[in-house]
Amino acid sequence: MSELGVTPGQTIGPFFHYAMPMPDDRVLVPLDSPGSVRLHGHVYDGGGNVVPDAMLEIRQCDASGVVPRVEGSLRRDGSSFTGWGRSGTDSEGHYWFSTVEPGPTHPGAAPFFAVTVFARGLLDRLFTRIYLPADPEVLAADPLLATLDAELRRRMIAVRDDDGSLRFDLHLQGDQESVFLAYPRHVG
């Protein structure tokens, strides 16, 4: 079957901050609640400058490896886990989420956050994954990571901060350019 004419993307532009992020959409679980983790990092451009007008969205499983199909990500009820969040970057190019670590979807699977990235200056959205730092054997067996050399694999894995947070910096371009993904059926 032929593809319908897919609607092209366009940049999110500079003026989304007042429109898109909601007060709690980055707070998937209450701050510092039991089992919560802070996922955070900076977004950089190819010149090493921070990107203060980027937006990240994450989609993830819950701690037991199940993808929630629950509404309420824009106006949280404080108890449901929706498995989706959105964070703009601040003037320092920093984003953060309060969430839980996703569990493996099946035994031996390497858990990850699915990520979409938008920014002024970026003409279409980018996809990537943020893998949890886990057993190297589990990571090496992941179908995507297995296709990458050690350096690129490292760039897809979050770093554990001393306070337990997960840190993941995103580089849109440059020496440390992040690994961005396309999926089958993405055209053009």
Binding site: E3, G5, T11, E57, V67
Partner: protein, 257 residues
């Protein structure tokens, strides 16, 4: 009286030079590309913000196969009508923008979130970084949300946004547009784009729209003005349908053919 006008920066390129650059690059690209080029120098802000490596193909799994779910609890009752404001009505041409959200196989995307944001009738956003010296409309925030219905239809009532200047090059103007944010049934279908109004003379001059190098693909971002959607002595109707990329799920949901 002090002037709001800023001096014309002499170091910025002219529109004629920029248009020539666009034409040159488009001549070098193959027809049929449905998506904007990320490596697109005419849009100056993109220079350091586009990846230079080829995208890696991944087979979607887990959370990538399931879009976020939104419902009535996510949306305020009046969020689909941007003209309803506590202080009174915004100034401008009242419009309706409506259409269907479909996936790459033509199936309606049901009960899914659609978000929009836009400038007011004079081309000004309520955003502290917008320094365009055009009046702010106290009765217009320019932000809307709704859920699609069972046939994939969304609908917003708003006012027609004005074109606005920006600093990409000298005397640069964006054609009037509404920013749209869309989800499908899978995470992989996420889309943020811009809808344009038919007949705008600024299309050919705009490096953002022209980053889509294929004319037919660009045309998919332009709404049509439809008389049947217009309302007697009330508003003009525009139709704009959106087609997301295809899904990967191998099953059909009940009721789907």
């Amino acid at each position: 009286m002090t002037s709001l006008r800023t001096p014309v920066p002499a170091d910025l390129e002219s529109q004629a030079d920029l248009t020539a650059e666009i034409k040159q690059l488009q001549a070098e690209t193959r027809p049929g590309d449905a998506q904007p080029r990320l490596d697109w120098p005419p849009y100056r802000s993109s220079l350091l913000r586009h990846p230079t490596k080829t995208l890696r193909y991944a087979d979607p799994e887990g959370a990538e196969l399931v879009a976020p779910v939104f419902g009535q609890t996510d949306i305020g009752e009046l969020e689909s009508d941007l003209t309803v404001q506590p202080g009174g009505e915004p100034i401008g041409e009242r419009i309706k923008v409506t259409g269907r959200v479909l996936d790459g196989d033509g199936r309606p995307v049901r009960g899914q979130l659609v978000e929009i944001w836009q400038a007011n009738a004079s081309g000004r956003y309520i955003h502290q970084r917008d320094q365009h010296p055009a009046p702010i409309d106290p009765n217009f925030t320019g932000v809307g949300r709704c859920l699609t219905d069972d046939d994939g239809w969304y609908s917003f009532t708003s006012i027609k946004p004005g074109p606005y200047p920006w600093r990409n090059h000298r005397n640069a103007w964006r054609p009037a547009h509404i920013h749209f944010s869309l989800f499908g049934t899978e995470f992989t279908q996420r889309l943020i784009t811009q809808m344009y109004f038919p007949g705008d003379q600024l299309f050919a001059l705009d490096p953002i729209l022209q980053s889509i190098t294929d004319q037919r693909a660009r045309d998919r971002l332009v709404a049509t003005c439809e008389h049947e959607l217009s309302e007697h002595e009330w508003l003009l109707g525009y139709r704009w349908d959106i087609v997301l990329t295809g899904t990967h799920a191998t099953y059909l949901e009940p009721g789907d053919e």
